[in-house]
Symmetry: C2
């Protein structure tokens, strides 16, 4: 039940997309919302430098991370409604974009039902900027004319959607996919995907420890996440664009360490 605008409080909630990780990939509008905020409720993985953009706000983590306790969604709704009714300006700060697997829709519905004014500020989504930051464009002329972004959890509906796709036509980006790799590899093999489908894993894109791996689908589940990087958010990319982007990665200096190592090996053996 949406209450008429005239009966709304003067507080409001702004759902803000914080982008893929680097603090300066926040939008100008998001930075202004943070500057004006009285209260910031933020996800896990939000950089300290982003929170510093809200100097006058009280700040609380309501973040969810695999395996850790988190604040229940209903509690988050209550916190936002109470603060807005108390005439506060609340920023609900989310990783990436609020509408890409970020429960933004649910939060807008809860706030609307409570008669609280709500706005959404979109963000750069990790689903696209994550691969891009590691030199893998999700679309590439002549290779991929589209991109499918999908959560890998739960696995069953994900595999149902994936099984229909042709990775020679579009790029598939799977979020929350690291722990589901074995199920993905087996499910796609059963669906008739080639084991040699190009595949990539991107860890902590746009962050200081960003790391990526490229190979093929049949190697995806075996790749061991390097020590110290296990806590980074990760995504999986499937499709011909991964193999086609090798020169793009070189031009952008991504995976440069590997290239240097190869040169050194060649020089050493010459």
């Amino acid at each position: 039940m949406i209450e008429p605008r005239s009966r709304r409080t003067s507080g409001k909630v702004v759902l803000v997309g914080a982008g893929p990780g680097a603090p300066d990939l926040l939008t100008l509008r998001a930075a202004r919302a943070l500057a004006e905020a009285d209260l910031v409720l933020y996800d896990a993985l939000i950089d300290r430098a982003v929170l510093d953009l809200a100097p006058k706000a009280a700040k609380f983590s309501v973040g969810k991370r695999a395996g850790r306790a988190s604040v229940a969604q209903d509690t988050i709704h209550s916190l936002m409604v109470q603060a807005a009714r108390g005439k506060k300006t609340v920023v609900r700060l989310k990783c990436g974009d609020p509408f890409v697997l970020g429960r933004g829709g649910e939060e807008v519905l809860a706030l609307g039902a409570a008669g609280v004014r709500v706005e959404v500020i979109p963000g750069v989504t990790s689903a696209i900027a994550g691969p891009g930051g590691e030199g893998i464009p999700v679309t590439l002329r002549g290779v991929s004319s589209g991109v499918l972004v999908l959560t890998a959890v739960p696995e069953e509906p994900c595999l149902r959607v994936l099984a229909r796709q042709d990775p020679k036509l579009i790029t598939c980006v799977l979020l929350m996919a690291l722990g589901a790799r074995r199920a993905i590899v087996d499910g796609l093999a059963a669906a008739g995907w080639s084991p040699k489908t190009p595949a990539a894993i991107v860890l902590g894109a746009h962050g200081p420890r960003a790391h990526s791996w490229t190979g093929t689908l049949d190697e995806l589940a075996e790749w061991v996440i390097p020590a110290g990087l296990e806590e980074l958010p990760g995504l999986v990319v499937l499709g011909d664009v991964v193999a086609a982007s090798e020169r793009i990665r070189s031009a952008l200096g991504v995976g440069q360490r590997d290239v240097v190592t190869e040169s050194e090996v060649r020089l050493g053996s010459a």
Copy 2:
């Protein structure tokens, strides 16, 4: 052929995503790149206020718009390479995100082949923020666990990919789709899609004349773009999320005019 870093010039090219239209949906990093630019080569549809963020730069439109002459892609590459070799800092300013159907990959390859240093700054993509700006989240818990972004031009490969999809599981966003609506409706009917599949058209999202329509697939091709809005960029959204987002649109005040009109009609006939 990538030349070693040491032989590169000190100029560089930065491919910058300008976001979905509103000037303040640019990232902080993009704003800084513009402030430092000597030359800005920009797409059509870039807001004047964004160009004003580059006070010391020479600015040239290289934009493509349906039906109008544009600068050839090779010429854009040459302009960028020449300027970077002349030690200039070049910003190639693109609508949305450079890697979402923006030819960013091609430009990185051309610059890499010329030995020019190149960086990419991701932007908020219209493919996701466009529907979002009109109150349609591309994912929504229990309704859509993913989103497929696809160019509708050329039509044949688009239809080949679309025909495989289930709009009850994921959201499909079609870019450059306004002129292809008839082909899409007919092609999806032939592929067995329900004519009652929820559909939306979003025009000029996040701009001052943003406008949207919601209905069903069988009405998609007949909807007449309102006078004066024909030049706005448009996209098509297909999937159950369009129907499921009605209350989200109300909570965000999108399509409020239609709601008011309906109430007035009911009041008038009571």
